[in-house]
């Protein structure tokens, strides 16, 4: 009876995961979908704790289980609640790494059981394969996610050396070779080889993410996300547990597709991202060769005048806006200009910020109405009739090199055609290139003026200037 109830719990869990994911891909139902999946997860977890049995034996160590869950819940809940909107991407990466670590630890313990249960030469190959798969994928995902997390919050710098890709491939081959050896020719060294595989997999995870440029991190996190899904599915194989299997494979498949969709939004291929054309310094050369000419600065009071007397203004937000937490000041500026009869809208590039949708979330936090946010295609139609485009901390998404310069690493990426507008005002902290590390011709064009400073400070001063007019 109890086992039948457990089967029902797992069935409910599996269905809610599918339903939740389906609802998450539609804006109207997304939030409910997330809650439904969470509900299914709770049912599956409680069912496992109280109803699971193996060989007629119920689970023990309740104090440890509940202790662990309590600690995890408190830390997870608080860090998820406290994290700033700008830091969301690295938080997702961190949680993903935790899932990978979980799969890795399960494999370690289960292998240990196995070594004690069977004589060294008779390790059952089928189970060893699954344990190793969970171990390798889980630890690559864990180590990779930690590096991605460090890169996004600036603790880890891009790092690559010549021949790194070859080194990575060799590393991977060694891991696979050791795994095949362990499965095919089990011996007394099995434990040592197992830990060697673990260490090399962690190392591979680190080197896998190291050379990939920061701008591509969302894609990498999405990929590692699907890795962790597969690692979880390995657990499902191991325990013949249907909810782990369905949940894991579902995320593995959906995550892979999502990764490809993200690449498509940037008009780049996955191989291109993974080989890391942004990361290495080699390609930065061409842009530096040619003389960029000079740029002109604009004062706050001039900006205030130009914007107040415009009839149509577009704001292009970027990561700089997120870093400065300037979304509220930005909304205030928009309201002030609207009160003066200026038509103000936002042009949102699909990959502005560090993650797709980053800017939408940020501006929604500041209560900017939904209909003021225009997607790239709509905005591009509007630019020719726009008086002023104000760019707040965005760079690569408005770089004309994506259209004009085939040697540019971002060549082919769709961009916002801000140069079609009558005036372009760019707010940046300095002339330093953007996240992709390439120069932007836009800044040197005659219709472009630079307004240097922290986005929040500049916007507040600008608001004060406009009020004084």
């Amino acid at each position: 009876m109890e086992l039948n109830v457990l089967t029902l719990c797992y069935l409910i869990g599996s269905v809610t995961f599918i339903l939740g994911l389906k609802m998450l891909s539609n804006p109207a139902t997304a939030r409910k979908g997330n809650l439904i999946a969470a509900g299914g997860m709770i049912i599956a977890i409680l069912g496992t704790i109280f109803l699971y049995e193996e060989g007629g034996q119920k689970l023990g160590n309740y104090a440890w289980i509940f202790g662990g869950i309590a600690i995890g819940t408190v830390i997870g809940f608080l860090s998820a609640k406290k994290v700033k909107m700008t830091a969301m991407p690295e938080m997702v990466s961190m949680f993903n790494g935790m899932g990978g670590a979980c799969a890795m630890l399960i494999s370690i313990v289960e292998f240990n059981h196995l070594v004690h249960a069977y004589p060294a030469s008779e390790l059952p190959a089928g189970i060893v394969i699954i344990i190793l798969l969970g171990l390798i994928i889980g630890s690559v995902s864990f180590a990779g996610s930690m590096v991605a997390w460090g890169k996004l919050n600036g603790k880890v710098k891009d790092f690559s050396f010549t021949g790194q890709h070859i080194f990575n491939i060799i590393l991977l081959l060694v891991i696979v070779g050791l795994a095949v050896y362990l499965i095919g020719w089990p011996s007394n060294n099995a434990t040592i080889i197992f830990y060697a595989i673990l260490a090399l997999s962690l190392l591979y995870g680190v080197f896998f993410v190291f050379p990939i440029g920061g701008a591509d991190m969302p894609v990498v996190i999405s990929l590692l996300n699907s890795f962790t899904g597969v690692a979880a599915a390995c657990g499902g194989f191991l325990y013949d547990n249907k909810v782990m299997l369905t949940g894991g494979i579902l995320v593995g498949a959906a995550g892979t597709l999502l990764t490809m969709l993200m690449c498509k939004a940037m008009n780049r291929s996955l191989t291109n991202v993974l080989i890391g054309s942004f990361g290495g310094g080699s390609k930065a050369g061409p842009a530096g060769d040619k003389e960029q000419g000079s740029y002109k600065e604009i004062s706050l009071s001039d900006t205030a005048v130009v914007m107040s007397y415009a009839s149509k203004v577009y704001i292009v937000p970027g990561y700089g806006l997120a870093v400065a937490q300037a979304q509220h000041a930005c909304h205030e500026l928009e309201k002030l200009l609207e009160a003066k009869g200026v038509d103000v809208k936002y042009a949102i590039h699909p990959v502005a910020g560090r993650m797709p949708g980053h800017m939408n979330v940020l501006l929604a936090e500041a209560d900017v109405p939904y209909e003021k946010l225009l997607e790239m295609e709509q905005a591009n139609d509007e630019f020719p009739s726009t008086d002023v485009v104000l760019i707040l901390g965005a760079n690569d998404v408005v770089n004309p090199a994506a259209k004009a310069d085939p040697s540019s690493p971002i060549y082919g990426m769709p961009i916002l055609d801000v140069e079609l507008a009558k005036n372009v005002i760019v707010n940046k902290r300095s002339m330093k290139p953007g996240y992709a590390g390439i120069e932007n011709d836009l800044f040197f064009q005659p219709k472009t003026s630079m307004l240097f400073g922290d986005a929040k400070k500049v916007l507040q001063d600008l608001i004060a200037e406009i009020k004084n007019l």
Partner: protein, 112 residues
Amino acid sequence: MENILSWITANQQIIYIVILMIFVGIEVIGRVPSVLHTPLMSGANAIHGVVIIGAIIVMGKAESDNYLALVLGFIAVIVGTLNVVGGFVVTDRMLEMFKKKRPPQTPPKEGL
């Protein structure tokens, strides 16, 4: 050959689930708008937290003298819970932002 065939027969249920789930996973998110990429990734991240069930099983059947299983199992339960709870809460926070702006958007749509 014989081995492989008998393995497929023995595990056919699981193989069916894997294949069908791959298609379901692709089908289900096929038409997602790019604004939802981040929340969707975060939601999927929370769902693979289901790996915690494996951690609970490891922890629950660890003998009291097997310190490796106890300690690693305990850590696995903690990090697994982090993945689940953190994942769902972060996703909810992201989507909360979207919800706020939907009311003004709906009326004009109905007007059309």
